[in-house]
Protein backbone atom coordinates (compact mmCIF):
# COMPACT_ATOMS: atom_id res chain seq x y z
CA UNK A 1 0.00 0.00 0.00
CA UNK A 2 1.42 3.40 -0.91
CA UNK A 3 2.47 5.87 1.82
CA UNK A 4 -0.35 8.30 0.98
CA UNK A 5 -2.96 5.61 1.69
CA UNK A 6 -1.24 4.81 5.00
CA UNK A 7 -1.33 8.49 5.95
CA UNK A 8 -5.03 8.59 5.07
CA UNK A 9 -5.73 5.50 7.20
CA UNK A 10 -3.95 7.08 10.17
CA UNK A 11 -5.88 10.31 9.70
CA UNK A 12 -9.14 8.36 9.42
CA UNK A 13 -8.79 7.66 13.15
CA UNK A 14 -9.60 11.36 13.65
CA UNK A 15 -12.67 11.45 11.41
CA UNK A 16 -14.99 12.05 14.38
CA UNK A 17 -13.00 15.12 15.44
CA UNK A 18 -15.08 18.28 15.30
CA UNK A 19 -18.24 16.25 14.60
CA UNK A 20 -20.99 18.87 14.43
CA UNK A 21 -24.74 18.99 13.92
CA UNK A 22 -24.51 21.02 10.70
CA UNK A 23 -22.18 19.01 8.47
CA UNK A 24 -21.19 16.18 10.83
CA UNK A 25 -17.83 14.56 9.90
CA UNK A 26 -17.00 17.09 7.15
CA UNK A 27 -13.85 18.41 8.81
CA UNK A 28 -12.58 14.91 9.65
CA UNK A 29 -13.09 13.75 6.06
CA UNK A 30 -11.27 16.76 4.58
CA UNK A 31 -8.44 16.27 7.12
CA UNK A 32 -8.07 12.60 6.05
CA UNK A 33 -8.10 13.51 2.33
CA UNK A 34 -5.48 16.28 2.74
CA UNK A 35 -2.32 14.14 2.14
CA UNK A 36 -3.77 12.79 -1.13
CA UNK A 37 -4.90 16.21 -2.30
CA UNK A 38 -1.42 17.58 -1.61
CA UNK A 39 -0.04 15.02 -4.06
CA UNK A 40 -2.79 15.50 -6.64
CA UNK A 41 -2.82 19.30 -6.72
CA UNK A 42 0.63 20.88 -6.68
CA UNK A 43 -1.03 24.26 -7.26
CA UNK A 44 -2.02 25.73 -3.88
CA UNK A 45 -5.14 27.49 -5.11
CA UNK A 46 -6.59 24.34 -6.69
CA UNK A 47 -5.64 22.33 -3.61
CA UNK A 48 -7.50 24.71 -1.33
CA UNK A 49 -10.51 24.55 -3.64
CA UNK A 50 -10.41 20.74 -3.41
CA UNK A 51 -10.10 20.81 0.40
CA UNK A 52 -13.08 23.18 0.62
CA UNK A 53 -15.03 20.88 -1.66
CA UNK A 54 -14.47 18.05 0.83
CA UNK A 55 -15.83 20.22 3.65
CA UNK A 56 -19.36 19.46 2.39
CA UNK A 57 -21.79 17.42 4.51
CA UNK A 58 -20.46 13.96 5.24
CA UNK A 59 -21.44 11.33 7.79
CA UNK A 60 -20.80 7.59 7.83
CA UNK A 61 -19.55 4.86 10.12
CA UNK A 62 -15.97 5.75 11.17
CA UNK A 63 -14.63 2.26 10.33
CA UNK A 64 -16.21 2.31 6.86
CA UNK A 65 -14.86 5.74 6.00
CA UNK A 66 -11.45 4.46 4.77
CA UNK A 67 -13.33 2.55 2.04
CA UNK A 68 -15.00 5.80 0.94
CA UNK A 69 -11.72 7.73 1.27
CA UNK A 70 -9.94 5.20 -0.97
CA UNK A 71 -12.62 5.19 -3.65
CA UNK A 72 -12.96 9.00 -3.54
CA UNK A 73 -9.21 9.28 -4.12
CA UNK A 74 -9.34 6.87 -7.07
CA UNK A 75 -12.28 8.77 -8.66
CA UNK A 76 -10.46 12.06 -8.12
CA UNK A 77 -7.30 10.67 -9.75
CA UNK A 78 -9.16 9.11 -12.69
CA UNK A 79 -11.10 12.31 -13.39
CA UNK A 80 -7.94 14.41 -13.37
CA UNK A 81 -6.19 11.93 -15.66
CA UNK A 82 -9.13 12.21 -18.08
CA UNK A 83 -8.91 16.00 -17.91
CA UNK A 84 -12.29 16.35 -16.16
CA UNK A 85 -13.28 18.33 -13.09
CA UNK A 86 -13.74 15.68 -10.32
CA UNK A 87 -15.96 17.73 -7.95
CA UNK A 88 -19.41 16.48 -8.94
CA UNK A 89 -18.31 12.85 -9.41
CA UNK A 90 -16.56 12.63 -6.04
CA UNK A 91 -19.43 14.34 -4.29
CA UNK A 92 -22.07 11.99 -5.70
CA UNK A 93 -19.87 8.97 -4.88
CA UNK A 94 -19.58 10.13 -1.25
CA UNK A 95 -23.31 10.86 -0.99
CA UNK A 96 -24.17 7.48 -2.50
CA UNK A 97 -21.87 5.41 -0.31
CA UNK A 98 -22.03 7.04 3.10
CA UNK A 99 -25.61 6.04 3.98
CA UNK A 100 -25.48 2.32 3.10
CA UNK A 101 -21.99 1.96 4.61
CA UNK A 102 -23.12 3.66 7.82
CA UNK A 103 -25.97 1.15 8.07
CA UNK A 104 -23.60 -1.81 7.49
CA UNK A 105 -21.07 -0.45 10.01
CA UNK A 106 -23.70 0.19 12.67
CA UNK A 107 -25.19 -3.29 12.28
CA UNK A 108 -21.85 -5.08 12.16
CA UNK A 109 -19.73 -3.18 14.66
CA UNK A 110 -22.02 -1.38 17.10
CA UNK A 111 -24.89 -3.88 17.17
CA UNK A 112 -23.03 -7.17 16.81
CA UNK A 113 -19.28 -7.14 17.35
CA UNK A 114 -19.16 -4.80 20.36
CA UNK A 115 -21.91 -6.68 22.29
CA UNK A 116 -20.19 -9.94 21.28
CA UNK A 117 -16.91 -8.65 22.77
CA UNK A 118 -18.80 -7.70 25.96
CA UNK A 119 -20.43 -11.12 26.10
CA UNK A 120 -17.10 -12.93 25.60
CA UNK A 121 -15.46 -10.90 28.39
CA UNK A 122 -18.40 -11.42 30.77
CA UNK A 123 -18.51 -15.16 29.98
CA UNK A 124 -14.76 -15.44 30.62
CA UNK A 125 -15.09 -13.64 33.95
CA UNK A 126 -18.06 -15.72 35.10
CA UNK A 127 -16.58 -19.01 33.91
CA UNK A 128 -13.14 -18.32 35.45
CA UNK A 129 -13.67 -15.84 38.31
CA UNK A 130 -9.94 -15.91 39.15
CA UNK A 131 -8.92 -14.65 35.71
CA UNK A 132 -6.68 -11.55 35.62
CA UNK A 133 -8.77 -8.37 34.98
CA UNK A 134 -6.28 -7.21 32.32
CA UNK A 135 -6.90 -10.48 30.41
CA UNK A 136 -10.66 -9.77 30.42
CA UNK A 137 -10.15 -6.23 29.10
CA UNK A 138 -7.54 -7.52 26.60
CA UNK A 139 -9.99 -10.10 25.23
CA UNK A 140 -12.63 -7.40 24.81
CA UNK A 141 -10.25 -5.12 22.92
CA UNK A 142 -8.88 -7.95 20.76
CA UNK A 143 -12.31 -9.25 19.68
CA UNK A 144 -13.40 -5.77 18.70
CA UNK A 145 -10.24 -4.31 17.26
CA UNK A 146 -8.88 -7.11 15.08
CA UNK A 147 -11.83 -6.84 12.65
CA UNK A 148 -11.94 -3.06 13.16
CA UNK A 149 -8.33 -2.51 12.12
CA UNK A 150 -8.65 -5.02 9.28
CA UNK A 151 -11.68 -3.12 7.95
CA UNK A 152 -9.81 0.18 8.05
CA UNK A 153 -6.67 -1.07 6.29
CA UNK A 154 -8.31 -3.42 3.79
CA UNK A 155 -11.12 -0.90 3.26
CA UNK A 156 -8.88 1.87 1.96
CA UNK A 157 -7.00 -0.62 -0.25
CA UNK A 158 -10.21 -2.04 -1.68
CA UNK A 159 -11.76 1.40 -2.13
CA UNK A 160 -8.68 2.68 -3.96
CA UNK A 161 -8.48 -0.44 -6.13
CA UNK A 162 -12.16 -0.34 -7.14
CA UNK A 163 -12.94 3.37 -7.27
CA UNK A 164 -16.50 3.87 -8.44
CA UNK A 165 -16.95 0.07 -8.76
CA UNK A 166 -16.97 -0.21 -4.98
CA UNK A 167 -20.77 -0.11 -4.92
CA UNK A 168 -20.92 -3.31 -7.01
CA UNK A 169 -18.43 -4.97 -4.68
CA UNK A 170 -20.53 -4.03 -1.63
CA UNK A 171 -23.64 -5.55 -3.19
CA UNK A 172 -21.85 -8.92 -3.30
CA UNK A 173 -20.79 -8.89 0.38
CA UNK A 174 -23.50 -10.58 2.42
CA UNK A 175 -23.12 -8.79 5.75
CA UNK A 176 -26.48 -10.10 6.94
CA UNK A 177 -25.13 -13.64 6.78
CA UNK A 178 -21.97 -12.68 8.71
CA UNK A 179 -24.10 -10.98 11.37
CA UNK A 180 -26.46 -13.99 11.57
CA UNK A 181 -23.51 -16.32 12.17
CA UNK A 182 -22.00 -14.10 14.85
CA UNK A 183 -25.38 -13.92 16.57
CA UNK A 184 -25.68 -17.72 16.67
CA UNK A 185 -22.26 -17.96 18.34
CA UNK A 186 -23.42 -15.27 20.79
CA UNK A 187 -26.64 -17.12 21.66
CA UNK A 188 -24.83 -20.39 22.43
CA UNK A 189 -22.13 -18.68 24.53
CA UNK A 190 -24.79 -16.62 26.33
CA UNK A 191 -26.57 -19.79 27.50
CA UNK A 192 -23.31 -21.15 28.97
CA UNK A 193 -22.52 -17.73 30.48
CA UNK A 194 -25.86 -17.67 32.31
CA UNK A 195 -25.17 -21.14 33.71
CA UNK A 196 -21.75 -19.89 34.91
CA UNK A 197 -23.27 -16.74 36.44
CA UNK A 198 -25.72 -18.88 38.40
CA UNK A 199 -22.80 -20.84 39.86
CA UNK A 200 -21.25 -17.80 41.52
CA UNK A 201 -22.64 -18.51 44.97
CA UNK A 202 -20.10 -16.79 47.15
CA UNK A 203 -21.30 -15.07 50.36
CA UNK A 204 -23.52 -12.18 49.35
CA UNK A 205 -23.93 -13.73 45.93
CA UNK A 206 -27.09 -14.63 44.03
CA UNK A 207 -28.18 -17.19 46.63
CA UNK A 208 -28.56 -14.45 49.25
CA UNK A 209 -30.64 -12.17 47.02
CA UNK A 210 -34.15 -11.15 48.06
CA UNK A 211 -36.39 -14.03 46.86
CA UNK A 212 -33.05 -15.88 46.43
CA UNK A 213 -32.10 -19.37 45.33
CA UNK A 214 -31.45 -20.58 41.82
CA UNK A 215 -35.06 -20.29 40.66
CA UNK A 216 -35.44 -16.89 42.30
CA UNK A 217 -32.28 -15.70 40.54
CA UNK A 218 -33.47 -16.81 37.12
CA UNK A 219 -36.97 -15.47 37.87
CA UNK A 220 -35.70 -12.01 38.76
CA UNK A 221 -33.62 -11.96 35.58
CA UNK A 222 -36.71 -12.98 33.58
CA UNK A 223 -38.77 -10.13 35.07
CA UNK A 224 -36.01 -7.68 34.12
CA UNK A 225 -35.90 -9.11 30.60
CA UNK A 226 -39.68 -8.74 30.21
CA UNK A 227 -39.39 -5.11 31.37
CA UNK A 228 -36.63 -4.48 28.83
CA UNK A 229 -38.69 -6.09 26.04
CA UNK A 230 -41.52 -3.72 27.05
CA UNK A 231 -39.05 -0.84 26.47
CA UNK A 232 -38.86 0.20 30.13
CA UNK A 233 -35.69 2.37 30.45
CA UNK A 234 -32.76 0.55 32.03
CA UNK A 235 -32.33 3.27 34.70
CA UNK A 236 -35.92 2.70 35.87
CA UNK A 237 -35.28 -1.04 36.14
CA UNK A 238 -32.08 -0.29 38.08
CA UNK A 239 -34.13 1.86 40.45
CA UNK A 240 -36.63 -1.01 40.80
CA UNK A 241 -33.76 -3.42 41.50
CA UNK A 242 -32.59 -1.00 44.21
CA UNK A 243 -36.01 -1.11 45.85
CA UNK A 244 -36.01 -4.93 45.63
CA UNK A 245 -32.54 -5.14 47.18
CA UNK A 246 -33.61 -2.93 50.06
CA UNK A 247 -36.81 -4.92 50.86
CA UNK A 248 -35.18 -7.04 53.62
CA UNK A 249 -33.89 -3.84 55.22
CA UNK A 250 -37.24 -2.04 54.87
CA UNK A 251 -38.99 -5.00 56.55
CA UNK A 252 -36.86 -4.48 59.67
CA UNK A 253 -38.02 -0.86 60.11
Amino acid sequence: MNPTLWRMVLRSFFIQCAWNFERMQNLGFAFAMAPALKRLYPDKERRIMALRRHMEFYNSHPFMSPLILGSALRVEEDALAAGKEPGAMVSSLKQGLMGPLAAIGDALFWNTLRPLATLASAALLWALPQVQPLVVAGLYLAIFNLPHLAFRILGIRQGYALGVQVAGFLAKVDTQKIIARLRIVALVVMGAALACLGRLKDPGGPASLPFGGDLGFVGQGFVMLVALRLKVPVTWILAGAGLLAFTPFLRTL
Binding site: A18, M55, P133, L197, R199, P206, F249
Partner: protein
Protein backbone atom coordinates in the same frame (compact mmCIF):
# COMPACT_ATOMS: atom_id res chain seq x y z
CA UNK B 1 -11.29 13.51 50.43
CA UNK B 2 -9.40 11.74 47.60
CA UNK B 3 -5.64 12.12 47.63
CA UNK B 4 -4.62 14.75 45.00
CA UNK B 5 -2.37 12.20 43.32
CA UNK B 6 -5.23 9.68 43.03
CA UNK B 7 -7.72 12.30 41.84
CA UNK B 8 -5.30 13.53 39.15
CA UNK B 9 -4.60 9.97 38.04
CA UNK B 10 -8.31 9.11 37.72
CA UNK B 11 -9.09 12.36 35.88
CA UNK B 12 -6.12 11.82 33.54
CA UNK B 13 -7.17 8.27 32.64
CA UNK B 14 -10.76 9.48 32.14
CA UNK B 15 -9.63 12.38 29.89
CA UNK B 16 -7.39 10.15 27.72
CA UNK B 17 -10.13 7.51 27.36
CA UNK B 18 -12.71 10.22 26.53
CA UNK B 19 -10.69 11.12 23.42
CA UNK B 20 -11.64 7.66 22.17
CA UNK B 21 -15.32 8.32 22.87
CA UNK B 22 -15.70 11.81 21.41
CA UNK B 23 -12.91 12.67 19.01
CA UNK B 24 -10.59 9.96 17.82
CA UNK B 25 -9.54 6.32 17.46
CA UNK B 26 -12.79 4.51 18.48
CA UNK B 27 -10.73 1.53 19.63
CA UNK B 28 -13.14 1.16 22.58
CA UNK B 29 -10.77 2.12 25.39
CA UNK B 30 -13.57 4.52 26.34
CA UNK B 31 -15.93 1.64 27.18
CA UNK B 32 -16.68 1.20 30.92
CA UNK B 33 -15.13 -2.28 31.04
CA UNK B 34 -11.75 -1.02 29.83
CA UNK B 35 -11.90 2.24 31.83
CA UNK B 36 -12.75 0.24 34.97
CA UNK B 37 -9.87 -2.21 34.54
CA UNK B 38 -7.39 0.56 33.66
CA UNK B 39 -8.38 2.65 36.68
CA UNK B 40 -8.35 -0.39 38.95
CA UNK B 41 -4.85 -1.25 37.67
CA UNK B 42 -3.40 2.24 38.19
CA UNK B 43 -5.00 2.53 41.65
CA UNK B 44 -3.83 -0.93 42.69
CA UNK B 45 -7.16 -2.81 42.78
CA UNK B 46 -7.97 -4.13 39.28
CA UNK B 47 -10.55 -6.61 40.65
CA UNK B 48 -12.80 -3.82 41.96
CA UNK B 49 -12.25 -1.85 38.75
CA UNK B 50 -13.33 -4.86 36.70
CA UNK B 51 -16.38 -5.57 38.89
CA UNK B 52 -17.51 -1.98 38.48
CA UNK B 53 -16.64 -1.69 34.79
CA UNK B 54 -18.35 -4.96 33.87
CA UNK B 55 -21.70 -3.94 35.38
CA UNK B 56 -21.63 -0.54 33.69
CA UNK B 57 -20.54 -2.08 30.38
CA UNK B 58 -23.52 -4.42 30.46
CA UNK B 59 -26.04 -1.83 31.64
CA UNK B 60 -24.93 0.77 29.04
CA UNK B 61 -24.54 -1.88 26.30
CA UNK B 62 -27.21 -0.39 24.06
CA UNK B 63 -26.06 3.20 24.49
CA UNK B 64 -24.08 4.09 21.40
CA UNK B 65 -23.23 7.28 19.57
CA UNK B 66 -24.93 6.92 16.22
CA UNK B 67 -25.50 9.96 14.02
CA UNK B 68 -26.73 12.87 16.11
CA UNK B 69 -27.57 10.79 19.21
CA UNK B 70 -25.52 11.87 22.23
CA UNK B 71 -25.89 9.24 25.00
CA UNK B 72 -24.84 9.68 28.65
CA UNK B 73 -21.08 9.95 29.04
CA UNK B 74 -20.42 6.36 30.18
CA UNK B 75 -16.64 6.95 30.16
CA UNK B 76 -17.03 9.65 32.81
CA UNK B 77 -19.60 7.51 34.63
CA UNK B 78 -17.21 4.54 34.62
CA UNK B 79 -14.33 6.70 35.90
CA UNK B 80 -16.42 7.91 38.84
CA UNK B 81 -17.87 4.44 39.51
CA UNK B 82 -14.64 2.43 39.23
CA UNK B 83 -12.31 5.08 40.70
CA UNK B 84 -14.80 5.81 43.47
CA UNK B 85 -15.29 2.10 44.29
CA UNK B 86 -11.53 1.54 44.59
CA UNK B 87 -11.16 4.59 46.85
CA UNK B 88 -14.15 3.57 49.01
CA UNK B 89 -12.67 0.08 49.40
CA UNK B 90 -9.39 1.65 50.48
CA UNK B 91 -11.02 3.99 53.01
CA UNK B 92 -13.54 1.44 54.33
CA UNK B 93 -11.88 -2.00 54.19
CA UNK B 94 -14.64 -3.36 56.45
CA UNK B 95 -17.28 -2.77 53.74
CA UNK B 96 -17.67 -5.44 51.06
CA UNK B 97 -16.50 -4.86 47.48
CA UNK B 98 -20.06 -5.47 46.24
CA UNK B 99 -21.52 -2.71 48.47
CA UNK B 100 -18.83 -0.21 47.39
CA UNK B 101 -19.40 -1.01 43.70
CA UNK B 102 -23.20 -0.73 44.03
CA UNK B 103 -23.00 2.62 45.87
CA UNK B 104 -20.68 4.21 43.30
CA UNK B 105 -22.71 2.68 40.47
CA UNK B 106 -25.82 4.53 41.69
CA UNK B 107 -23.84 7.76 42.09
CA UNK B 108 -22.32 7.46 38.62
CA UNK B 109 -25.67 7.46 36.78
CA UNK B 110 -26.48 11.19 37.26
CA UNK B 111 -22.80 12.06 36.66
CA UNK B 112 -22.93 10.22 33.32
CA UNK B 113 -26.09 12.10 32.35
CA UNK B 114 -24.41 15.43 33.16
CA UNK B 115 -21.42 14.34 31.10
CA UNK B 116 -23.80 13.69 28.19
CA UNK B 117 -25.08 17.27 28.47
CA UNK B 118 -21.47 18.56 28.43
CA UNK B 119 -20.74 16.46 25.32
CA UNK B 120 -23.77 17.97 23.61
CA UNK B 121 -22.43 21.44 24.41
CA UNK B 122 -19.05 20.47 23.00
CA UNK B 123 -20.56 19.22 19.75
CA UNK B 124 -22.34 22.53 19.34
CA UNK B 125 -18.96 24.29 19.75
CA UNK B 126 -17.54 22.01 17.03
CA UNK B 127 -19.75 23.72 14.44
CA UNK B 128 -17.88 26.95 15.21
CA UNK B 129 -14.56 25.12 14.94
CA UNK B 130 -15.42 23.68 11.51
CA UNK B 131 -16.62 27.11 10.32
CA UNK B 132 -13.40 28.71 11.61
CA UNK B 133 -11.27 26.14 9.73
CA UNK B 134 -13.20 26.67 6.49
CA UNK B 135 -12.90 30.42 6.86
CA UNK B 136 -9.13 30.21 7.46
CA UNK B 137 -8.82 27.96 4.41
CA UNK B 138 -10.87 30.26 2.16
CA UNK B 139 -9.73 33.70 3.28
CA UNK B 140 -6.13 33.13 4.40
CA UNK B 141 -5.27 30.04 2.39
CA UNK B 142 -4.15 28.42 5.65
CA UNK B 143 -3.92 24.70 4.86
CA UNK B 144 -2.90 23.86 8.41
CA UNK B 145 -6.30 25.11 9.66
CA UNK B 146 -7.78 21.60 9.42
CA UNK B 147 -5.01 20.09 11.55
CA UNK B 148 -5.34 22.97 14.03
CA UNK B 149 -9.12 22.40 14.28
CA UNK B 150 -8.55 18.67 14.88
CA UNK B 151 -5.99 19.49 17.61
CA UNK B 152 -8.39 22.00 19.19
CA UNK B 153 -11.18 19.44 19.20
CA UNK B 154 -8.90 16.93 20.93
CA UNK B 155 -7.84 19.57 23.46
CA UNK B 156 -11.44 20.57 24.15
CA UNK B 157 -12.44 16.93 24.73
CA UNK B 158 -9.48 16.35 27.04
CA UNK B 159 -10.09 19.47 29.15
CA UNK B 160 -13.86 18.88 29.27
CA UNK B 161 -13.44 15.29 30.51
CA UNK B 162 -10.61 16.15 32.92
CA UNK B 163 -12.55 18.98 34.59
CA UNK B 164 -15.78 16.95 34.84
CA UNK B 165 -13.94 13.94 36.29
CA UNK B 166 -12.19 16.12 38.90
CA UNK B 167 -15.51 17.78 39.83
CA UNK B 168 -17.29 14.44 40.03
CA UNK B 169 -14.55 12.92 42.17
CA UNK B 170 -14.26 15.83 44.56
CA UNK B 171 -18.02 16.29 44.98
CA UNK B 172 -19.40 12.75 44.82
CA UNK B 173 -16.80 10.38 46.29
CA UNK B 174 -16.14 12.17 49.65
CA UNK B 175 -19.92 12.59 50.19
CA UNK B 176 -20.42 8.90 49.42
CA UNK B 177 -17.60 7.95 51.77
CA UNK B 178 -19.09 9.77 54.75
CA UNK B 179 -22.51 8.29 53.94
CA UNK B 180 -21.12 4.75 53.70
CA UNK B 181 -19.34 5.17 57.04
CA UNK B 182 -22.65 5.91 58.74
CA UNK B 183 -24.75 3.12 57.17
CA UNK B 184 -25.95 0.13 59.21
CA UNK B 185 -24.91 -3.44 58.38
CA UNK B 186 -28.43 -4.13 57.05
CA UNK B 187 -28.22 -1.27 54.54
CA UNK B 188 -24.71 -2.32 53.48
CA UNK B 189 -26.04 -5.86 53.00
CA UNK B 190 -28.85 -4.46 50.84
CA UNK B 191 -26.25 -2.61 48.74
CA UNK B 192 -24.39 -5.91 48.33
CA UNK B 193 -27.65 -7.48 47.10
CA UNK B 194 -28.09 -4.60 44.67
CA UNK B 195 -24.69 -5.42 43.14
CA UNK B 196 -25.94 -8.87 42.13
CA UNK B 197 -29.26 -7.51 40.89
CA UNK B 198 -27.40 -4.92 38.78
CA UNK B 199 -25.24 -7.70 37.33
CA UNK B 200 -28.38 -9.67 36.55
CA UNK B 201 -29.91 -6.57 34.94
CA UNK B 202 -26.76 -6.27 32.83
CA UNK B 203 -27.19 -9.85 31.69
CA UNK B 204 -30.86 -9.17 30.88
CA UNK B 205 -29.71 -6.21 28.72
CA UNK B 206 -27.35 -8.58 26.89
CA UNK B 207 -30.13 -11.13 26.31
CA UNK B 208 -32.49 -8.37 25.16
CA UNK B 209 -29.85 -7.18 22.71
CA UNK B 210 -29.37 -10.58 21.09
CA UNK B 211 -33.08 -11.46 21.17
CA UNK B 212 -34.03 -12.69 17.72
CA UNK B 213 -37.34 -14.53 17.32
CA UNK B 214 -37.14 -18.25 16.64
CA UNK B 215 -33.36 -18.43 17.08
CA UNK B 216 -33.87 -17.75 20.72
CA UNK B 217 -34.43 -21.44 21.37
CA UNK B 218 -30.67 -21.81 20.76
CA UNK B 219 -30.03 -19.71 23.88
CA UNK B 220 -32.54 -21.70 25.94
CA UNK B 221 -31.13 -25.06 24.82
CA UNK B 222 -27.57 -23.92 25.47
CA UNK B 223 -28.49 -22.73 28.98
CA UNK B 224 -30.31 -25.96 29.92
CA UNK B 225 -27.51 -28.17 28.58
CA UNK B 226 -24.80 -26.08 30.27
CA UNK B 227 -26.67 -26.07 33.60
CA UNK B 228 -27.14 -29.87 33.42
CA UNK B 229 -23.50 -30.43 32.45
CA UNK B 230 -22.42 -28.21 35.30
CA UNK B 231 -24.70 -29.79 37.93
CA UNK B 232 -24.55 -33.48 36.97
CA UNK B 233 -21.30 -33.92 35.05
CA UNK B 234 -19.43 -31.41 37.26
CA UNK B 235 -17.96 -29.57 34.25
CA UNK B 236 -15.82 -26.56 35.20
CA UNK B 237 -16.63 -23.03 34.01
CA UNK B 238 -13.65 -23.03 31.65
CA UNK B 239 -14.78 -26.32 30.06
CA UNK B 240 -18.36 -25.04 29.68
CA UNK B 241 -17.11 -21.89 28.00
CA UNK B 242 -14.74 -23.76 25.67
CA UNK B 243 -17.43 -26.24 24.62
CA UNK B 244 -20.01 -23.49 24.06
CA UNK B 245 -17.63 -21.49 21.85
CA UNK B 246 -16.79 -24.59 19.78
CA UNK B 247 -20.48 -25.60 19.47
CA UNK B 248 -21.49 -22.02 18.66
CA UNK B 249 -18.91 -21.70 15.87
CA UNK B 250 -19.81 -25.12 14.51
CA UNK B 251 -23.52 -24.35 14.53
CA UNK B 252 -23.05 -20.92 12.98
CA UNK B 253 -20.74 -21.93 10.19
CA UNK B 254 -21.49 -25.59 9.45
CA UNK B 255 -25.14 -25.80 10.53
CA UNK B 256 -26.17 -22.57 8.81
CA UNK B 257 -24.37 -23.54 5.59
CA UNK B 258 -26.13 -26.93 5.58
CA UNK B 259 -29.47 -25.23 6.21
CA UNK B 260 -28.78 -22.82 3.32
CA UNK B 261 -27.84 -25.70 1.02
CA UNK B 262 -31.01 -27.59 1.97
CA UNK B 263 -33.10 -24.48 1.32
CA UNK B 264 -31.54 -23.93 -2.11
CA UNK B 265 -32.23 -27.57 -3.06
CA UNK B 266 -30.42 -29.72 -5.65
CA UNK B 267 -29.16 -27.70 -8.57
Amino acid sequence: MPDVHDALLIALVCAVCSLDLISAFQVMVSRPLVVGVLLGAVLGDPGTGLASGMILELIWLQQIEVGSVVPPDFTLGAAIAAGGAVLLRRWHPEISREACVAATLLASVPVAWMGGVANLWQRRRHAGLAAWAENALEKKGDESALAKAVAMSLGLTFINAFVLAMLGLLLVVPALSSLMGSLSTAVLGALGGLYWLALLLGFAVLVDHFWQGRWFRIFGTSFVLAALASSYAGLSGGALLGISVAVGIGLAFVGLSLADAAQEGPS
